[in-house]
Structure formats: C-alpha cells, structure tokens
C-alpha cells in the first residue's frame, strides 16, 4: 500500500504496479480448470484424424461400457440442442460459409474436428474411453493451400460447389477517396518506378499459455458457463441465438484467463459441446484441452498470399498501391473470419500519401484448421507488405529507407489527415518518433559498421531494418461497423457503484486476460472520483455482474472501455453534487468538485464524495424529489478508430556461411497517445514486439500433404524462449488521440504489427549486396542459407567437394539449394 504522502498527483500516467499480480504470483489464481463442483463430470473429445472425410458410422458401444463412463454422445445425438458456431461478420452479402456444427454429424472438413463426446467420472477415464470409440470414415480429397483452393479443383466443402467464400474490394477511385489505381500504375510504367512483389504471410498459432477450458453447470435456474475466453458477452449472446436457450437463462463467466492474443476471440466447438454434454447428463461437466488439441483445434492466424504493386515517380514519391490478397479461412468462417483481412484494407497505404489505392481480397475455404484473429488481425499483414515495399522503393531510388519514408509520410502538421483509403487519422508525429528512435539506436553508427563489414567481406554481415507503422485500433464506431455488415456494435459499457463504506466498484464490459485492466481502470477512476486507487475494485468478465459489454480484442479496451469509465465517473459526480449542495446548504451553482471533495466556492465548507455515498446509503437527509443513489452507468461509442504509430529499428547479424541470424539491437518508439500506466504500456510493447519477431524468425503452422498438422505440439511449433530473445529498448512519444477525452490510443497489438517487417527488412538489408531482395518467413537459418546459396554469393569461393567429402552430390539426406518444394519462393528475385 502506498502511503498517502507518496501518492502521485494524478494516477493517470503513474507506473503503478499491478493489482492483479498478488494472486498470480502466489498461485491463488482462478483458472477455469481449477474449478471443481460437486457431481462434476469430465469430458473428452473424439476428434477426426482426417482433414476431409464423410462419417459413415460411429460405434460407441465399447466406450459406453468402459469404467466410469456416464455418456457417449455423437453429433447426431445432440443435433437439435448443440447450437452452432457463428460468423459475426459476413464481409459480403453473398459470402459462402458452410454450416459449422460444434460436433460434426456426417462430414468433417479438417483434422481435429470433434466427432463424439465421452463424459466420465474423471478426465483420465474419459480419455481412456474416447480411445474406444470406433469411427468409420470415407476419406475425401483435401485442399490445403489457398492458391490451390482458388482453382476449385478439389472442394473443401463439396456441397458449397466452390472454395471461394467472398471477394471484397476497396477502391479509392470508386469511393472518391483517391484517384484511379490503373491510371497511376500505367503512368509509372511509362515514366516512373513500379515495384511488383508477392509476399507470403505464413500461418501462425496464437498459442496462449493457458489451454482453453470450459465448465458448464446446468443445475439451478440458470446455466452457468465458466470458460477461458476473451468474449463472455458475445458467447452468451451466441449461445442464446443458436441453441434456443433464453439469453436470461445463461450466465457466462470468464474467470482468470491466461492469455488470448485473439485466439480466445471465438465461440468454440468445445464450449458448445461442453454445454450440450452438461445439459444431457444434467450435471456439471468440465472440458480442458491438451496442448496438442489446442494447437490443432483453436483457430490459427494470418495465412495470406499478397500480390502487390507499388507505383512511384522517379524521385520516389509514391503514387499508387494495388493489393491483391488470397486469404485462407481454413475449414470454416470463424467469428471474425473474412473480416480479418478486411481489417487490413485501410492500412496497406499506412502513413504514406498515395494518390490511388485498391485493395482486393479473395477469401477461400480449405481443409485446414480455421483461421481468425491473431494479434493485429489484418494490420500486421498490411504493415509487413507496405514496409517491405518501401525498402524496395528506397533501393530503386538509391536512398536510405528512412529518407524514402520521410519523403512520403504525412507530416505532423497535416493531422487530422484523411487517407487514400478513406480513414481519418486523428493525430501523430512520425518525425518525432523517428528522430528519437534513430538516436536510441545509433542509426548512423550502425550504418557505418554495416559499410565496414561489407567492405571487409566479413562473413557475418549486418543489416538494419526499419518499420514506420501505423494501425487503426479501438474496434468501435458502431455505425462504421454496421456499414461493413459486422453483426455487432462497437460501444463499451461501464458502471460505478459507490459503496456505503467508501469503497468503489468499477464494472467494465471489457474482459481482460493479462492486460491489467484492474490496475489501469482503477487509476482512471481514482483521478476522476478523487478516491484512493486502493479503494477501487474493478469487476469484469461475468455477464451477471457486468451485464453489458463487448469484451476485449482489437486494442479496444482502453480507448472505448476506459472512456466509458470516465463517463460513468462523471455521472456519479453530477449526481453526488446535488446531494452535496443539499447537505452543504448551498446553491448547486456554488458547489465545486476537486480531488474527491465538494466545496462551496469561497468558503471552507466541504464534504467528501465517499461521505455522500454513505449519506445516500442511509438516505436520511436527501433533497426533496431526489432518488436515492449516486451510482451511474455509461456507454461510450467513439466517432472514429484511433491511430497509434511508431518507428521500430532492428539490427540483425547474418552469418553468410551458416545462415544463422542473430538479433543485435531492437529499438521502438511508439506513440500510443496519452499513457495511463507506462509499466503496462511497456509490457504490451515488449510482448507484441517479440510475437512479431517470432513470425519473422521462428513460427509457422505446417500441414503435411494429408492435412495433418505437423507442428502440432510445442516441440514443433517453436515459440521463442528467453534464450532466443534480447532485451529491447522501448520509449514513447505522445500525440494524444482526439477520439476520447483521455487522449489514449490502443497498444495491445502495436508491437506485433510493427516488428515483423523491421526484422525481415534487416535480414534482407544484410543480404542485399548478394542480390537477395526477399526471404520467406519464418526466416530460419536453413532458408537464409539456401537464399544465400541460390543467390550465388559464395560461388567464387565455393567450398570444394574435397573439403567436405561427406557432402557428396547425390548422397541422401542432403539439402540441395533450390530443391525445396515446400519453400518455392525462397531466395532471390521472388
């Protein structure tokens, strides 16, 4: 506890240590899997091993006789009660989306899909019995790759007749926010610069640390669902909407949730299956996934092919950008689904003043794990593409990559700025963030070292990567979302309860899972109400306690939910002021509020807001006609997104003999508007940056030819470890947002959006003298080595066969440059 004299003047801006930590560091955390209820049964899933098959028979007899088994259920057994998995954002009115049942009935479209449920007395007995369920499958051909899916030669869902889900387009000429793309590109072809590239966004797995878990208690008047989710309110709505259960009979609780990163922004087959099983047996049922189940059945992220054309004048002034995406949705259209690539539509043009812009995305269905939001959702893909292209443009023009950016970016005095994609950026100062980042990085010094290493033909080359990103966050304006056919609004809700003993409850509709809302919301409310930080309790993640909310994703919680707290607090003060004037026997016009006290102007007369709370509890002496109670609710729906930005600089060393890459230095200067808690902001940036670095260097979800997830455990899906990463240099500049009174912008996704291109740009920068202008992510030592070999860099001083005799040509188990079917875009010139 902080002594009163140590209290900061304002809580907002103070590096408060988190309230959440105490339970987390002592093991008193309430994870869903920790919940035990009397009579609780355990659920195990029988999952399809095939990527695509018809189910021709399920024999449950042996499993039903197994020890401890209470019930074995197939999709057919629960087909009328199990509900459905919904897509909330059909991006076009004619979008094709297959029906998505929690438990498949006759057709499985990806490996890992649930085909039967086993309920038993313990989790171990349930798993044992699940092994005894015999499922007959007729295997069907599977389509896995998005480009193949477009051909429609093999269909992921034969009943749909096509793999193409939706074609969505934004064109600056058509919507009047810019010129004609084709015209500008034609001009550049005639007398300018045209850069055409294809980039691959590999498939990633969110890989939150807490495996998903659901407990459903069907006893009592309401069904209670505890689940490891980012979206308890959306889940409650969709349970009601798809199962027919009255919404008022369903309570969803997200207790402590161990990370999400978008991976828990979903209503899952497992949640609906657990609900169906619990209703069937009439007892509480728990399901907790294994990590292997999590990696194959939780939704994946990214997986796009990007075909890009950038046009510029000869001096490097950008004119047009044309973006054609193929986005792999996997087997089903998830909650956000095709909306993920669409969220990138306004961001490929980034901070640059293009005259014309066109974005087209074709979403496709395949027989792979479904793909949905993963940290950044659409914006990392966009940022990667444009930041890679800007480096290519710098090379064409023959200038430093920061110089080409500065030539084209929006100047700080030009805000608010309406982009060629039609978005109005609220505020920013790219010059300031870049200047500070260069200084922290010793940009000029590292450039000198790079020249020296090139000159001396050092086998370890140095590359410097730049990313000057922006993003749109705070998924909100309900009217904008409505115009995009999104199925929900973007408002957020808060309530403040002023308790009789002087304590305060802040109820938020956001649903944190590591972000620190309990601390940050306390800081906001403490300043606004003038009550001590310690006296505020933040409640969340339970639809009965916090009945209105739209949950946590898209860097929206602070900019939308935090502002709702401000407005609820202001309403509390307004209500309390009426009571204060009465008790102080003053005119309300003479009563002022500051730092938790109402005073009468020009006198020493005053009363604290917590005393008013006590007075309204007793209600012994309220003004005539005034209703007892000073609690208040507020809903906030901003007019616009907010647009954080920043400059990230990365130095990578590349061993040209082995392909080994090593991060030397990473600097970020992010402008996320007004900062509520610098400690939390710094933590968000660290985590985001490392997730983005991981996309660049290590992570990829890989399927074999049959559609089996090869990287299906943490042995093969290689998350970064402490030993793989370095300490980061992070700072901030501040351009307050104009879309909320706190001036905040989102920070949860910024790091992951910014860092990936910074790393790959650094690697390409190191190798560019060898003729390399692309590396496919993840840039593993093998891929880097192959790129170097196929670029011919070592030809002059090639290792002879004599020097390494057991690397003879034609011998088995060797990597041969250019002979990698799985990585056909490796190397130069792609």
């Amino acid at each position: 506890m902080t002594a009163v004299e140590d209290r900061p003047k304002t809580e907002v801006g103070a590096a408060r240590k988190r309230k959440e930590d105490q339970r987390l560091i002592t093991g008193r955390t309430k994870w869903t899997d920790n919940i035990q209820l009397t009579g609780m049964q355990h659920l195990a899933m029988v999952r399809s091993p095939f990527a695509h098959a018809r189910i021709t028979g399920i024999d449950t007899a042996a499993a039903k006789k197994a020890p401890g088994v209470v019930a074995v259920l197939t999709g057919a057994d629960i087909k009328d009660t199990q509900g459905a998995i919904a897509n909330a954002w059909p991006i076009t009115t004619d979008q094709k989306a297959p029906a998505h049942l929690p438990v498949a009935v006759d057709h499985v479209a990806c490996a890992g899909e649930i085909v039967a449920l086993v309920v038993a007395r313990t989790a171990a007995l349930a798993r044992d019995a699940a092994e005894l369920v015999e499922v007959d499958y007729d295997e069907l051909p599977a389509v896995l790759d998005a480009k193949e899916a477009v051909e429609d030669a093999v269909l992921a869902h034969p009943d749909l007749g096509t793999n193409k889900s939706a074609l969505w387009r934004l064109d600056s000429g058509e919507q009047g926010s810019g010129g004609d793309v084709d015209e500008e590109i034609a001009k550049a072809r005639a007398d300018g610069i045209v850069i055409e590239r294809e980039y691959r966004q590999q498939r990633l797995i969110p890989a939150f640390m807490e495996p998903r878990s659901t407990v459903v208690d069907p006893t009592g008047e309401q069904i209670t669902v505890w689940t490891s989710t980012q979206v308890p309110h959306i889940l409650r709505f969709l349970i009601a909407a798809t199962t027919g259960l009255p919404e008022s009979k369903v309570r969803v609780i997200a207790p402590d949730v161990g990370g999400g990163f978008g991976g828990k922004l979903q209503t899952t087959a497992e949640e609906f299956a657990t609900l169906a099983a619990a209703r069937h047996v009439g007892k509480p049922v728990k399901y907790t996934e294994t990590r292997s189940e999590s990696l194959v059945s939780g939704h994946h992220g990214r997986d796009q092919y990007q075909t890009l054309t950038l046009a510029a004048t000869k001096d490097g002034t950008v004119t047009a950008l044309k973006v054609d995406l193929i986005a792999n949705l996997g087997a089903y259209v998830g909650l956000v689904g095709g909306g993920v690539p669409v969220l990138g539509a306004w961001m490929f043009n980034a901070i640059y003043k293009f005259r014309a812009y066109r974005f087209t995305v074709q979403t496709v269905l395949t027989n792979t794990t479904w793909v949905d939001a993963y940290r950044g959702a659409g914006r990392p893909e966009a940022t990667y593409a444009v930041e890679r292209l800007m480096d290519e443009l710098a090379v064409e023009v023959g200038v430093d990559p920061l110089e080409i950016r500065e030539k084209n970016w929006i100047k700080h005095e030009e805000f608010p700025f309406t982009s060629v994609a039609g978005m109005t950026y609220d505020s920013g100062n790219y010059e300031a963030a870049t200047a500070r980042a260069k200084e922290l990085f010793d940009y000029d010094g590292l450039r000198r070292e790079q020249q020296e290493r090139r000159a001396s033909k050092d086998p370890v080359q140095l590359g410097i990567g730049v990313s000057t990103f922006t993003e749109m966050c705070g998924l909100a304006p309900s009217r904008v979302l409505g115009s995009l056919n999104y199925g929900a609004g973007g408002w957020e809700h808060a309530s403040i309860r002023m308790l009789a003993t002087g304590k305060v409850e802040v109820i938020t509709g956001t649903s944190p899972h590591g972000q620190g809302h309990e601390t940050a919301w306390s800081q906001i409310a403490a300043d606004r109400l003038g009550v001590p930080f310690e006296d505020i309790e933040v409640l969340h993640g339970d639809t009965q306690i916090s009945p209105r909310g739209l949950d946590t994703y898209g860097s929206r919680s602070l900019v939308v939910g935090g502002e709702a707290v401000v407005r609820a607090a202001d309403k509390v003060v307004e209500k309390a002021k009426v009571v204060a004037a009465h008790l102080l026997e003053a005119s309300i016009d003479d009563v002022e509020f500051s730092q938790g006290r109402f005073t009468v102007r020009g006198t020493d007369n005053g009363i604290g807001i917590t005393e008013i709370a006590t007075a309204q509890f007793t209600s012994h002496n309220l003004p005539d006609g005034v209703e007892s109670g000073i609690d208040a609710d507020a809903t906030f729906d901003p007019d616009n997104f907010s647009f954080p930005h920043g400059t990230h600089l990365c130095a990578m060393e590349v061993d040209t003999e082995t392909g080994q890459v090593t991060m030397r230095k990473y600097v970020s200067v992010d402008d996320v508007g007004q900062i509520i808690n610098p400690l939390i902001v710094e933590g968000q940036v660290h985590g985001g940056v490392v997730q983005g670095i991981a996309q660049a260097l290590w992570e990829e979800a890989v399927f074999d030819d049959q559609g089996t997830l090869v990287s299906g455990s943490f042995v093969d899906y290689t998350l970064p470890t402490a030993a793989d990463t370095i300490s980061l240099v992070t700072e901030n500049t501040t351009s307050p947002s104009t879309t909320n009174t706190l001036g905040t912008k989102g920070v949860g996704e910024a790091g992951a959006i910014a860092s990936t291109p910074a790393v790959v740009n650094a690697l390409v920068d190191a190798l560019r003298p060898l003729g390399i202008n692309d590396l496919q992510m993840p840039c593993t030592p093998e891929r880097v080595w192959k790129a170097i070999q196929s670029a011919g860099s070592n030809q002059a001083e090639a290792t002879t066969g004599d020097a390494q005799p057991h690397f003879d040509a034609g011998a088995p188990n060797q990597d041969t440059p250019g002979d990698d079917a799985g990585a056909s875009t490796d190397g130069a010139g792609q």
Partner: protein, 173 residues
C-alpha cells in the same frame, strides 16, 4: 493403486495414486494445489515447474510415485508468514507477468537458476529460463526481475534446502 507419502509445501500427505498419475495431476487434483498449472503435454512449456527436494522439476515429467518420500515445494509454499519470496516480489516490481499463467513455473525455475548461479549474467538467466515459455512479456521484464532478485539475495529459495544429490528411483534427477 499405490500409496505414496509426500511433503508438499511443508504439509505431509499420504495418498493412493494410480501408478500413471503425473505429479502435476496429483498436486492439482488430489491436493488442490492449483497454483501449479499445466500448459502443454510435451514438457516444453515449464508452466508446471515445482521444486523437488529443492531442485526444479517439470511436474508433468515426474510420476507421483517418484515423489514418494520426497519434499515438494510449489508456488503456494514460497511466501512465508505473509512475506513474499524475493523472486515473487521482483516479478511484481518489474511487471514480469501479464496473464500470469506461466508465472508459477517461471518463478520456481528462476529461483533454481539463482540457486545454481547466485550472480548470473543476462545470458545465464536467459539460458536458465529456456525451458519455460511465456507468451505475454517477451521475457524482457522477467530477465529484469531475476536480476533484481539476484541483487536482493534470492537464493536459498524454496523451503526444502537440500540442493544436490537427491535421486528418484535410482535415477539422477
């Protein structure tokens, strides 16, 4: 079923377990020691790390029967008389946790690192924590926390005190 006797966080327990029961499941399901969590099924993530006779082990990688006659310390047994262990305090001070799921295992492993190397370099800390995955923090603040705890003399971590030479079923731990 096999009977085992184990001391966990200073309390003696004697229970019947299935021979296949993992130590982590014994701790969580039979003793209610849910502070220790399960994050994977391949012994990669380290979320379930506890101390066995004072040395860190991944409790998903130890059978409950192997703990028979031994002393286990979990995250729940670290704080003494309401005082946080210096490593717990350092994690709080340095914002070394966000969602907190990896935190119990990370703290137990970090204490083990300092038991081995009381004054570690950044590199030694990073290598020492390599078997524990965190998805939230990017490790930056975890490294800082271990450095702070090292400065505060956070060795002699868990209660057991025996830090070498223990064996399980004849195999070195």
């Amino acid at each position: 079923m096999t009977r085992i006797s184990v001391t966990v966080d200073g309390v003696d327990y004697s229970d019947e377990v299935e021979p296949r029961t993992l130590l982590v499941h014994y701790l969580r399901e039979q003793l209610g020691k849910t502070g220790t969590v399960v994050g994977c099924d391949t012994s990669n993530c380290g979320a379930c790390t506890v101390h066995l006779d004072g040395r860190s082990v991944k409790s998903c990688n130890v059978l409950a029967v192997q703990a028979d006659g031994h002393d286990v310390t979990t995250i729940e047994g670290l704080a003494k008389d309401g005082e946080l262990h210096p490593m717990q305090q350092a994690f709080h001070d340095c914002h070394a946790l966000q969602c907190g799921y990896c935190t119990p295992g990370m703290i137990m492993q970090a204490i083990d690192v300092l038991n081995d190397t009381p004054d570690p370099s950044e590199e030694q800390i990073r290598v020492g924590l390599e078997g524990n995955l965190c998805r939230c923090t990017g490790y930056h603040n975890i490294v800082k926390a271990v450095q702070q705890a090292a400065g505060a003399g956070a060795t002699t971590g868990s209660s057991a005190g025996t830090t070498s030479g223990s064996t399980l079923g004849g195999e070195p731990v």
